[in-house]
Amino acid sequence: MTIDARAREPGRATAELSLLVDIGSAWTKAAVVGRAMGRWRIAAHAAQPSAWDEGELIATLAARLTGRADARVSGRIATLLADAPRIAVHTPARPGRIALAAVSSELSGQAARSAAEAAGWVVVEAVMVDDGRAVVDRLSALQSAEVDAWLIAGGFDEEGGEGALEVAGLVAAARGGGRSPVVWAGSAGLTERVGAFFEPGVLRAVANPRPSADRENLLPLRRYLDGLIERLVERGTARQLAPIGFGRAVAELARAARLRVVGVDLGARYATWASADENGMAESRVVALGGLASPTLTAPGGPARIAHSLPLAIDELAVADALQNLRARPGSIPQTDEELAVVHGAARDLLGDLATSGPQPGGIDLLIGSGRTIAGAPLPAQAMQMLLDGIRPIGIVQVAIDPAGALGPLGALRDDEIVEGLGTLRDDLLTPLGAAVVCRGGRPGHFSMRVTVHRVGWRSLGPIEVRPGQLEVVPLPRGQVAELEIEVDPAVSLGAPRRTRRLRASVTGGAVGVVLDARDAPLILPRRSDDRRAVLGGWRDTFVREVRPPTEGVA
């Protein structure tokens, strides 16, 4: 933890303050950490468009502290904040751009693309032997691409393959010399022959992400591309990058609490998925164009998909314009109900992509949502719905948000300081939304789960029967612990293999409560638009029925 070490004027009261700052591509989030009653606490937080000046952020934070700070320093709080030491992270200035050449769209191409995107690269051009284009068009596309690096993939390790040599030759011809590095992630047996296509020192061979037809091994390529992006695009500042800091903080939270934790940070440009097990072993996926300005949302089919998922009758054309405006002006906020519905629909869609784009963790004990759209949602229930609808975390999971955007900056601390920082701020860092029991499967006419909620000092609730497609929210305030007695239908899964239809679990409450969710995974919706909207509206109403207004909002 950074401590204010400024020289103090004798006899003049001062304050020990630090700022945690996350400068995003669209929004800047800041939290004031101060000492109160001998403890470090997050005293205030605020967010504002990144285009606004820092003085405005300081003024907003100072206004939030008015009346809460000690009277001896309240008149000088803005000055103290401006002078306070800060721990800052930022979104990468620009993503790394890579061109991909592979043999097969579905095997080598898909594996290499996944690894590159999970490492934060944007694949600006991809050519595959089976992409239906003429060779000359592939060559021309590669020659026109503006890239920082090249990635070639193809051929199984045991078999080699002429197709892989052809795409390597295509890259060699398109690249035409220069300094840009080439990564060979294809058949191990072809490495030497491919290397001969390039000048000495240009090619780097990495383990094949698709070594055989039935096996994928993305990690070595991802790790290499992680390092490459740091060397080529963001030299020497890796820890100060928000996605890196976020992943480090999630790993430390998991290790300290001995929990399996998944954190998702959905920003304007970047989306980060960080998962860590009880030992702090972490995996992160950083998708450079995975945020709310993602081109996947506005690509053909995107607006229709989002419109399909909305409880409001908003036509596809209006959704398309709203999504484009979101991309064009990410620092603005949804002003109408319709715009908010579109943004939340887009967030659910992106979270779904993020959750399915990599290996699924064996189970999640704690799911954390970060980023203004999720953590700054008008109602906690809306944040809960985005996370559950998007990720579909099968099992029993605690859900929380990072309202101050403090995880990224804390993750930028040195290893030994992260432990201290997270430990010191543990009570303020996350806002618990509650818990969720999410199941997959179910049979029409039978209950999916029957749950009795035993609360200490209160009468038990239930048994509550939840049928396929249904959702129930049981109020359970923050800090209150309940014992859930769950009986599940034989056709229903809670993720982990089980020996019994009955199980017990202890959960902690939050701003929303306990969500009993039998809506299957992925969500199944009626085909008729009226029926679909009625179902979606019913789910939305169930979520928001028991809500409290948030205490602090955006700038």
Partner: protein, 346 residues
């Protein structure tokens, strides 16, 4: 006085730059030459040398990726013969299956044009950096290629839609300033009439996609000539150009401009500075709103509300009270307005 800005021209790989650092270039000046690759041909290698196809790699004296000239040896067997390149081209691959070499012949020389006026500051790998002394306008989006042409205002008012009927042969080679919207039909007609580019306040995403799909089909079918660029300055939907900016365009009608659709960028030469935008508006500022229901409307920020207030969407935020030009007074999230400032600070 306009401050020059640095503009990076992306050069396709294989371009031989024909201008030097320090040279002054015009928008229509050739800055490089490039020979694009044509459909590849297979050059028999092992058959000509009476060897097995699988031996091809040992026979080659060139490697994939290499550029070869016509008559340059491709493969040699000491004392037995040589295979020469039939044409100049790029070696793409060697096939061990049939013993051939895949060679992409190089087409005739094509000129590369920068579309900007200015002084060359640097020649880098894959790009040319040019110092451009022009008024620069960043839009929120765009589409198409780099173009240049004379600026022409195509609508009487900033909120008017640019109609297909308004585009005639007089607009050929020009950059047309439209209003709040242009349909796919209008954009298609503009391109067909040889209009270089269009500047719009807004466009419906659907119309833009339809237009791009038509262009893609035409390109695939062949026969499409000339470049065309679109610049979007306010947002998606039917959104008028800010009246101040529209007035600036009117003042500069007839000046030469360069439009970079994909980059959302416009340079206007010999022009006064563009009315600026400031993200954080203050009381008394003239502002423009960016989100529905006021998207594209201008007004004056008359007050900032104390504390946080909920927008209609329920998001608690700082609110500005804006008197719009139609007389309406409405609270708008401060993050959703930008101050518009004339260069003289008015």
């Amino acid at each position: 006085m306009i401050e020059a800005s640095l503009h990076r021209i992306h050069l396709p790989r294989g371009t031989v730059v024909s201008v030097r650092v320090g040279a002054e270039i015009r928008p229509d000046e050739v800055i490089g030459l490039r020979r694009g690759a044509l459909a590849p041909v297979r050059v028999p290698v092992t058959r000509a040398l009476h060897r097995q196809p699988g031996e091809i790699e040992q026979l080659l004296v060139v490697r994939p990726g290499e550029r070869v000239e016509a008559e340059q040896p491709l493969a040699v067997v000491e004392g037995a013969g040589v295979v020469l390149a039939p044409v100049a081209g790029l070696v793409l691959a060697a096939s061990g299956r049939d013993g051939t070499l895949l060679l992409a012949p190089l087409g005739s020389e094509e000129t590369v044009i920068g579309h900007v006026r200015g002084r060359v500051r640097a020649v880098e790998e894959g790009s040319l950096v040019v110092e451009v002394p022009a008024a620069r306008l960043h839009g929120v989006g765009g589409s198409g290629e780099a173009v240049h042409g004379e600026l022409v205002v195509g609508v009487p008012n900033p909120g008017d839609e640019l109609r297909a009927a308004a585009i005639d042969a007089g607009a050929t080679g020009k950059i047309l300033v439209g209003g709040s919207r242009a349909s796919a039909e209008t954009l298609t007609r503009a391109r067909a009439m040889g209009v270089a580019g269009i500047v719009l306040g807004g466009v419906l995403d659907k119309e833009l996609r339809d237009f791009e799909a038509i262009q893609r089909r035409r390109r695939e079918a062949g026969g499409m000539t000339g470049s065309f660029g679109i610049l979007l300055v306010e947002g998606f939907g039917k959104v008028g150009i800010d009246p101040q900016l529209f007035a600036w365009f009117r003042t500069h009608a007839g000046r030469v401009a360069s439009l970079f659709g994909a980059d959302g960028l416009l340079y206007v030469y010999d022009a006064a500075p563009v009315p600026m935008r400031r993200a954080l508006a203050a009381v008394g500022d003239r502002v423009i709103a960016h989100r529905r229901p006021f998207q594209g409307r201008g007004g004056v920020l008359v007050a900032l509300l104390e504390e946080l207030h909920s927008a209609q969407s329920g998001i608690p935020t700082r609110m500005a009270l804006v008197r719009f030009e139609d007389g309406r007074l409405a609270p708008v999230p401060l993050a959703n307005v930008e101050a518009t400032v004339l260069p003289e600070g008015r």
